[in-house]
Amino acid sequence: MKLVQAVIRPFKLEEIKEALEEVGIVGMTVSEVKGLGRQKGHKEIYRGAEYEVDFVPMTKIEIVVPDRDVDRVLETILRAGLTGNIGDGKVFVLDVEEAIRIRTGERGEHAV
């Protein structure tokens, strides 16, 4: 199994979620993160003090899938997450050694 970890634009979450559902991928875990990269942040001003806020609000998706589904997931995210502008985000793939469903104790691909 693989962990597909994507950092995407927050407003793309709904679209990606639906696109994944269409290709049969439902489970995922999502968190709010801040990203730093090529995309420029913005300036903030508080009583004349200027702050460069480099961090951009992003959303992180984590999906664990059997190896055979990885490509499908990647394709879908790349398609649905695209705007073409700097800051669309990244997808990383990591190896997962084991997965367990807490409710049943099922292990491996059955767990996800």
């Binding site: 407003f11 709904e14 913005h42």
Partner: protein, 480 residues
């Protein structure tokens, strides 16, 4: 003030101060030479053209024969205390009341942009009002707009203006009215929330106040205003404030178009506690708005406060129950929105109707606005925070309801509505509402179209995506 026309505060003396003993009323009747059916202030125009002037003249003639000391004694510290208090209450309605009510409903990235719209309107219109707004609205003038006699508040001092509020300093009246001028354009902002450019917003508020609100206030409340002369009743601003801003909101929603992602992306309120706090402050402040419009602390004010509270309560329950039945759940946002709808609807009526009418007006307002707000989705325009659905619809209902439920038994300075056989009043109310719809819609539409050309109304899509806070104001609402 060049033409002093002192006028007896007959209505408040009779109706507003509790029912005096018959002899007492008669005495006053004799003194004034006119039946005690006149309300000297906003909300109580004379019925029939010229009546106000005739009576004013009469009263003036009689008054001049009284010793001046007696006239001066009319200034009442109790009434002044009440109106100054109400001025503060209505200030609170705009900021932080409305600011938070709206601010809680938008997404986290647009909080400050939304709060700013209320806050800067308070600042901008306060200044505009002292310079030009008050004179356009209230100075003696033509049927459509006031003269420039009181420009920069020249001549508006501690002495009361007997035409508008004979027992409080003229400055108190002008200050109280300032807060009405402030909140009206701020209400409209609900329609174009989350997508308007700030420079365009500033220009809009300035133009709208000067071209729409001030003239309309003059027509309905100002000396010589033409709607005032046609007999429509508007106790505390149902037409001037709520119909006008609600209809303007509809025009604005149509001109500016839907928010990016509307219907697709989730757009839940980012903080309902803020919205409920705002609703609570609005309810609180509305006591000042409505009961303060009696311009004195007597029976009319007490009646207005009681009907205001009752209508708000009934509307909150009605909306909540409607949602419970229709959607399966009673929501807090529904209850809070219902309360505001009820407050809107009772505004023109509060000083002219009794408590059972208030229950009816409130309950219908809750149902009607709940329905209007749902209907929006089907009609396809994006009145983001339902300024039209609540203020336009609720205000229109309230103005017509005044024509149905008003009763001279409650306030002799009012008139009798349909239920008491007075079809004339309902017709007058219809006229006033229709005029206001057309006037506000067309002018708002025109102003916005021009501004769109000249300044651009809407932020670019990337900025809408990123949010108004960062792109328009270089600030974030929340930080670690």
């Amino acid at each position: 003030m060049t033409r002093p026309r002192p006028r007896l505060r007959a209505s408040r003396s009779a109706a507003g101060r509790g029912a005096p003993a018959p002899e007492h009323a008669a005495l006053r009747g004799r003194r004034a030479g006119t039946p005690a059916t006149e309300r000297p202030a906003p909300g109580g125009p004379a019925r029939g053209p010229g009546a106000a002037l005739r009576r004013a003249a009469l009263a003036g003639a009689l008054l001049t024969s009284l010793p001046p000391a007696a006239a001066a004694q009319e200034l009442s510290s109790g009434d002044t205390a009440w109106v100054l208090t109400c001025t503060a209450l209505v200030l609170l309605m705009t900021a932080p009341g409305l600011a938070l009510f709206y601010g809680g409903l938008v997404r986290r990235k647009n909080v400050l942009g939304t709060l700013m719209q209320s806050f800067v309107t308070l600042a901008l219109v306060s200044v505009q009002w002292t310079l030009i707004g008050y004179t356009l609205a209230f100075a003696p003038g033509g049927p459509f707009v006031g003269s420039l006699e009181w420009i920069g508040l020249a001549g508006v001092g501690a002495a009361p203006n007997a035409d508008y509020a004979p027992t409080i300093p003229h400055q108190a009246f002008a200050s109280f009215q300032a807060m009405f001028a402030v909140i009206t354009p701020a209400l409209i902002a609900g329609a174009f929330a989350e997508r308007m450019r700030f420079p365009a917003f500033l220009a809009f508020v300035l133009l709208w106040s000067t071209l729409v609100y001030d003239p309309l206030a003059h027509m309905v409340w100002g000396l010589g205003g033409f709607l005032r002369e046609r007999g429509a009743l508007d106790f505390a601003g149902g037409t001037v404030v709520h119909v006008s801003s609600g209809v303007a909101a509809l025009a604005a929603a149509l001109v500016i178009g839907r928010r990016h992602g509307y219907g697709h992306e989730p757009m839940q309120p980012h903080s309902l506690p803020l919205t409920v706090l705002g609703a609570g402050l609005l309810w609180f402040g509305w006591f000042g708005f409505n009961a303060g419009s009696a311009l004195g602390a007597g029976g009319v004010a007490a009646n207005a406060l009681l009907t205001t509270n009752t209508a708000a309560a009934a509307a909150a329950l009605a909306w909540m129950i409607a949602e419970w039945i229709g959607r399966g759940r009673p929501t807090l946002l529904g209850a809070a929105s219902g309360a505001v709808a009820g407050l809107v609807a009772i505004t023109p009526a509060c000083g002219y109707v009794g408590v059972s009418a208030a229950l009816a007006i409130g309950a219908v307002a809750g149902l009607l606005c709940a329905w209007a707000v749902s209907a929006k989705t089907r009609l396809g325009y994006d009145d983001a925070l339902d300024a039209f659905g609540i203020h336009g619809v609720g205000g229109t209902w309230g103005a017509l309801a005044t024509g149905i439920f008003a009763s001279t038994a409650v306030n002799p300075a009012g008139a009798d509505g349909l239920l008491r056989g007075g079809a004339g009043l309902l017709r007058a109310q219809l006229e006033a509402v229709a005029f206001t719809w057309i006037f506000a819609f067309l002018l708002t539409f025109a102003i916005l179209k021009v501004l769109d050309r000249v300044l651009g109304l809407r932020v670019p899509p990337e900025h809408e995506q990123e949010g108004l806070d960062v792109t328009q104001h270089s600030e974030s609402a929340y930080a670690p």
